[in-house]
Every structure is written in structure tokens, then in C-alpha cells.
């Protein structure tokens, strides 16, 4: 089983971000979110690798902490949403009947109710008592349904495949069928879904920051974008302030994506196709 180039590159990018954002803060003793630590709007220099922003914060250090916090939040939430959607989607699709209908009503209700206004209402309810745990919980609540429905429709289609019947006739039970026969087919989609979920978390967190549900004083990729937009960074010429988090988000996503597709290819090779 040989790692392909995609997978290697993807893992490299992920390792770079993860290790970098976890290790670098050990060498820094200034709270990056404190305003007016330096003069504002300083250009790029040896002291300030990406310059300082309009609030007198160091953009580089703020970004490092942001990547770390966003990664923790994104991965944590996505593990839960992916698991929940896989379990519910697969079981609903395969078992069918009343069980399927109840799960689907639940899923459809969560999907049909536009999350934004509800999030805003929730935001005003928890008010200042938001912390990362509550934020993660809210993101999980809104994040699982989409994937569950997609996985279910895949399962629904796959269960009509002949090999499932073969398997059934050869005496496998439901759980075995779901996990041994259906799951591998759905897995490729789930990995994409997992990546999607991380991005969903990062982007939703940014949107929540804008409506005041997230803690915008805590550095995240969302809060950095929130502040840059708030100060109209693009227009006032503070390009680094907005470009840096966007590039970081894109590269981070690229890493996740390459890892997943690379893994997919490797998986396909192992199954003996392609």
C-alpha cells in the first residue's frame, strides 16, 4: 500500500498547520488579542512578519492563534457531525420503515428551518455566556442533518445492489451488512463530508461572529475576518489583515481535501479498481 503524492502533500500541509499552530504559541508571551500593543498599521517587517492591523495587534501572531483555535473547533465538531450523520443516515436508509420515517422527519425539520435566524435567537438566549463548548454544541446541532440525509439516500440506492442480497442470503445480520457492505461505499462521501463539515464550522463560526454569538475577542479565523471586515480592511488598504486569514483558510482546506482524495485513491487502488 503506497502513499500517493496527493496524500503526502495533504498530510504535509495538515501537519504544518497543526504543529505550527500548536508549537509556535510556546514562543510568544504577548496576548495577541490585546489592542494597542503596537502602533497601528505598521508595514511588514522583521518584528511584525505580516505587519500590524488597525487595532494595533500583530497580524501574524493573531493568525497563529486563530488557526489553532479554529482547527480545534472544526475537528472537534466535525467528528461528531460526521459520526451522527453516518450512523443515522446508514441505519435509516437500510432499516427503512417507521424508523426511517422518524429519522427523516427529524432530519428534514432541522434542514427546513433556516439555521441563521434560529442561531441568532439562540445567540441572544445564551448571550454573553457563550464559550467554545456551547458554540460547538450549536454547530453540531445544525451540522449533522445535511450529511445524514445524503448518506441515507446513498444507502437507499446501494441496498438495492445485488451484493447486499447476496450478503443477506449468506446469513449476515443488519449491523454487519451496514458496516461491511454499505459503509465502504459511503465512506468516500463521508470523508468529503468531514472536510465539508470543518469548513462549515469555520465559515459558520465567522458568520456567528458577525452576529455576536461567537466570542470575537478570542482569535479564530472567523473573528479575524470579522474584525478585518468591520474595519473595512480591503478598502483602507490593510490587505494583509484580510488576505492572510483567507489564504490560511484556503490552504488549510487544500490540505484537508488532498488528504481525503488521496486517501480515496489509495483506498480504490487497494480494492483493486482503477
Amino acid at each position: 500500500m503506497k502513499m500517493n503524492f496527493r496524500l503526502k502533500l495533504g498530510i504535509f500541509i495538515l501537519a504544518f498547520f497543526t504543529l505550527g499552530s500548536l508549537i509556535l504559541p510556546l514562543f510568544n508571551d504577548v496576548d495577541p488579542s490585546q489592542q494597542g500593543t503596537y502602533f497601528k498599521n505598521l508595514p511588514i517587517s522583521g518584528d511584525h512578519l505580516l505587519g500590524t492591523n488597525t487595532q494595533g495587534q500583530d497580524i501574524f501572531w493573531y493568525l497563529v492563534y486563530s488557526v489553532r483555535n479554529s482547527l480545534i473547533l472544526g475537528v472537534g465538531v466535525s467528528i461528531f457531525t460526521t459520526l451522527i450523520s453516518a450512523v443515522l443516515g446508514l441505519s435509516a436508509g437500510y432499516i427503512g420503515g417507521w424508523y426511517d420515517r422518524i429519522i427523516m422527519i427529524l432530519t428534514d425539520s432541522v434542514i427546513a428551518i433556516p439555521s441563521f435566524p434560529i442561531l441568532i435567537v439562540l445567540g441572544t438566549l445564551v448571550r454573553g455566556n457563550t464559550n467554545f463548548f456551547i458554540l460547538g454544541l450549536i454547530l453540531v446541532i445544525f451540522g449533522w442533518a445535511w450529511g445524514a440525509r445524503t448518506v441515507r439516500s446513498m444507502a437507499l440506492s446501494i441496498r438495492e445492489h445485488e451484493f447486499i442480497n447476496t450478503s443477506r442470503f449468506s446469513g449476515s445480520n443488519t449491523v454487519e451488512i451496514i458496516f461491511q457492505e454499505i459503509f465502504p461505499y459511503v465512506f468516500a462521501y463521508m470523508v468529503v463530508g468531514f472536510i465539508n463539515s470543518i469548513l462549515f464550522v469555520i465559515n459558520t463560526e465567522a458568520a456567528l461572529a458577525v452576529i455576536g454569538l461567537s466570542k470575537v475577542e478570542i482569535p479564530t479565523l472567523g473573528s479575524i475576518i470579522f474584525w478585518a471586515l468591520n474595519y473595512n480592511a480591503m478598502f483602507i488598504g490593510q490587505y494583509m489583515w484580510i488576505v492572510a486569514p483567507v489564504v490560511a483558510t484556503v490552504v488549510l482546506f487544500l490540505g484537508l481535501f488532498l488528504t481525503s482524495t488521496g486517501y480515496n485513491q489509495m483506498f480504490a487502488t487497494r480494492r483493486g479498481h482503477a
Partner: protein, 333 residues
Amino acid sequence: MGLIQYIVSRVGAYLIVLFVGVTITFFLPRLMPSDPIEGYIAQMQNQAGQSMNPETIEELRTSMRKLYGLEGSIVDQYVDYIKRVFISFDFGPSLASYPKPVSEFIFTALPWTLGLLGTALVVSWLIGNIIGLVAGFYHNSRWATLLEIFGVILYPIPYYILALVLILLFAYIWPIFPLSTTILPGPITWEKINSIIYNSFLPALTLVLAGFGWNILGMKALSFANKEEGYVTFARLKGTPSRTIMFSYVFRNSILPQITALALSIGGVFNGALLTEILFSYPGLGLLMRTAIGSGDFNLLYGTIIMSIVSVATAALIIDLVYPLLDPRIRFR
């Protein structure tokens, strides 16, 4: 289970979803700590000139409370509300803009949102899926990789920033589209339709691009997986031309989850509507929702949220009913 039973069960589920949605919608905003009357009173107090004496404030507060029907227990309000919504589709008066009825607001705003976001949704879905299909089917060729990279880079950019970049490009640096939306009043004429298209182009483009990336990636993963299926290999061995394989075999099977995805992304569209409409001052439901939240106008908030629940649930129902036609493997048992 026959076809009729299938349809009945789907419609039943649909009604239950609506009911659950409407109920959640009723209770959640009630818990909001904002109050349209206090909002209005604060606004008036804040106006430099007219400080109000306490008697005035009390007087105003009492009369508005009575006018808005905010008296009575929450259960009474709920029962009354369910009756009104399901029987006469009446959401009551807007609180912040009393006595204008909420339905009037919704019917002014709805066509804008549906038109803009519906178009953007379908266009981005179609183009995204075709690109994804091609990229997945010819996954080894160089331009398939290029297309994929395009999707990968486009997808994670936060929508708000993507839209701003497009605005900078097409309305400022190369100003071929307007920066803000201007909708002229009066009857529908060719000129007016023209002006609407001209004013809607940029918001629609940002939405198309924003939805694009995900469709490319999703479709690519699916078509890549499906092209390794036994029946595809069989067709290939049989000597079927690869274009036919792509469309008749891979596409037909890969598109199913993507159709579900299309139906479901309509819910997300209303979320996207908030940002698009705010950024472009585009007069739709999203802007209405935001105003309602800002001013604590929960009648208006119910109305807009229920409207989007109805649209999304209806779309899902239609897809559910059409689905068996597209995937013949699903038999009715």
C-alpha cells in the same frame, strides 16, 4: 406498498415537518429578550430633541401593548397563531411597522428572493455538476485536475469575502455593474425587466460562484466512485463509447445524491439570502428577517421563517416524489 400509499406517507411526513417547524418557530422567538415596543421607545428617547416624560412613556407602552395583542397567556397566543397560520395564512400585523400586515411584507419580498436565489442555485448546481462529472470521469487528465483545483480554492473562501472581491472587480475597478441595487417602481415593462436583470447580475454571480465549488467537489467524488462500479466496467468492456458511459451510466447514478443535495440546499439559500441581500441591499426575505430580528418584530420573524420552511419542505417533498422515477432501483414495497 403501492404508489398511492407512498405518496400519502410522504405528504404526511411533509405536514409533520411543517407542524414541527411552525411550533419551534413560534416558541423560540418568544424567548428573545428583545421587545419591539422597548425598541421603539428607546429609539424615540435617543432622538436628541424629544425627551419624553415618564407619563408619556407609560402611556405609549400601554397603548402599543394592547394594539399588538401581546396580552393573554402564551398558550392562548399559540393556539390562536396555529389557527391563523394554517387556516388563513395570516401572520398578523407587523409590530415594528404597525398596522401593516406581515403577509404584505412577505409577498413583496418573496419574488425577489425566489428569483435571485432560485436562479443562482440552479445555475451553480448545473454547471458545478457538469464540471464535477467531467473532472471525476477523466480524473487523470490535466485539465480535470485544474477544474478540481478551481473548485477547491473557490469553495472555502467565506462568501462575504468572495462577494466583496467580485464587487471590487466588477463594480469598482471595472465598473460594469452597479454597486447597490436600485429597483424602480411602477408596472412591469421591458425596460424594468432589463433594469432588474442588470441590478441582479452581480448578486447572482456571487451566489453562483459560492455554490459552485461544493457541487464540483461532491460530484467529482461521486462520479469517480461510480465509474469503478461493475456495470461501468461491463459497459466499457462491451465497447460503449466513453461519452455515453459518462452520461448514461455514471451521471445517472452520481446525480441522485446531488439531486437530494439540491433540494436541501434551498434551506441554506435562505441563510445565504441574509448575507447577499444585506451586502447588495437586495429587497428580499433575508433582509426582512434581519430587520425583524433587529427590531424585535417577532410576527414578521415568524412569517419569514415559516415562509422559508414551507419552501424548503415543499422542494424536498417534490424531490421525494420524483426520486423513484429517476432511480428505478427503488421499488415500492
